[in-house]
Amino acid sequence: MNQAGMQGMHGGMQGGMQGGMQGGQQGFGQPQQGYAGQPGMGMQQGGVPPPIDINNPMFQMAASSGAQFFDSGHKMLQNNVEQYVSMSLLRYYFSVDTAYVLAKLRILLWPFMHKDWKRCKDEGSMVGYLAPRHDVNAPDLYIPVMAFVTYIVAFGLHQGWLNSFTPEVLGKTASSGIGIMVFEVLALKLGFYLLDGPPNRFVDFCCYCGYKYVGIVASTLCYIFIGMHWPVILFTGLAMAWFMFKTLATSLILRGGEQQMAGELSTPHYFVFAMAMLQLPVTWLMGI
């Protein structure tokens, strides 16, 4: 039954697409014509008769069955993915707004003047901390994912500039980026386990390791447009090292409260320092 239904929806979409193409120069309304009822709107200005008649019962049936199958597919996807990745947890990491993103980018590129690195506790939320849009120190997944994709695109742009671009470059960059991140996150997790740290989530570590891509994107773009990227790599590497140091220290060293700021160097300090300094060579390695 599903097969036939999919065929029907596909047929409906096809009809919609073709009608849209024949309509002429309208922009992005086309793919939606199977679902939304707006096809007539933009077209009347061109003087072309609307290719889809809203009042046609066939169109309405196709639209409703299309919506139905979209719904059931969405439910099926949700059920299957929920076992592996908790969607509501991910929703926490993506609840950002513009003010947060701007503040976070400022902190990532100039962390030296940021004073308070503690995350605010929030008993009601899933994670136990305030959502990113309310707390600048909370990790989020939006910036790392965006920076990672931008890095892949910028790297491809650089290769294109050098006339040595092949489509495999994008895939290779993605897999090596993910590979380095996997090693780093595993090292962080191992270190936190061995040093008796508070149980940070796996996703938190992915966020922290993903923030370095902001600096890498900046240095890549500098390399493309200015041609000289050593100062930028050095600076963003140092900024990321400082950021990681402060973030991990807040989580690992200050967990017992403020009285542990006595200043004696112990293994947690060394570990955090090492992980932070690791950002520098990794930044250089990922850059060009």
Binding site: K172, T173, S175, S176, G179, V182, L190, Y193, L194, L195, D196, T267, L285, M286
Partner: protein, 81 residues
């Protein structure tokens, strides 16, 4: 800079091998890293006891899958180079 998933796979395979071959009685105990030593049983939360328990867990879980993966990888390398 490109290292591919294949390189990642070989690297992690070798790394896991290196953890799994640390036999407790024949090797670790001779260098003072036994799980029956008093300093390990006394404070179970110490770094040394955690490392030992990680090694033990990795050996327990990954020994047979690693035997299989090693065989497959060696055959693959023999055939395809």
């Amino acid at each position: 800079m490109g290292f591919s998933f294949g390189d990642l796979y070989i690297a992690s395979l070798l790394f896991l091998n290196s953890v799994v071959i640390l036999h407790e009685e024949r090797f670790l105990a001779k260098h003072g890293w036994s799980t029956n030593a008093p300093e390990v049983t006394m404070n179970p939360g110490s770094t040394k006891s955690k490392i030992l328990s990680i090694i033990k867990a990795v050996r327990l879980v990954m020994m047979w899958p690693l035997i299989g993966l090693n065989t497959v990888t060696v055959l693959f390398k023999l055939v395809f180079g």
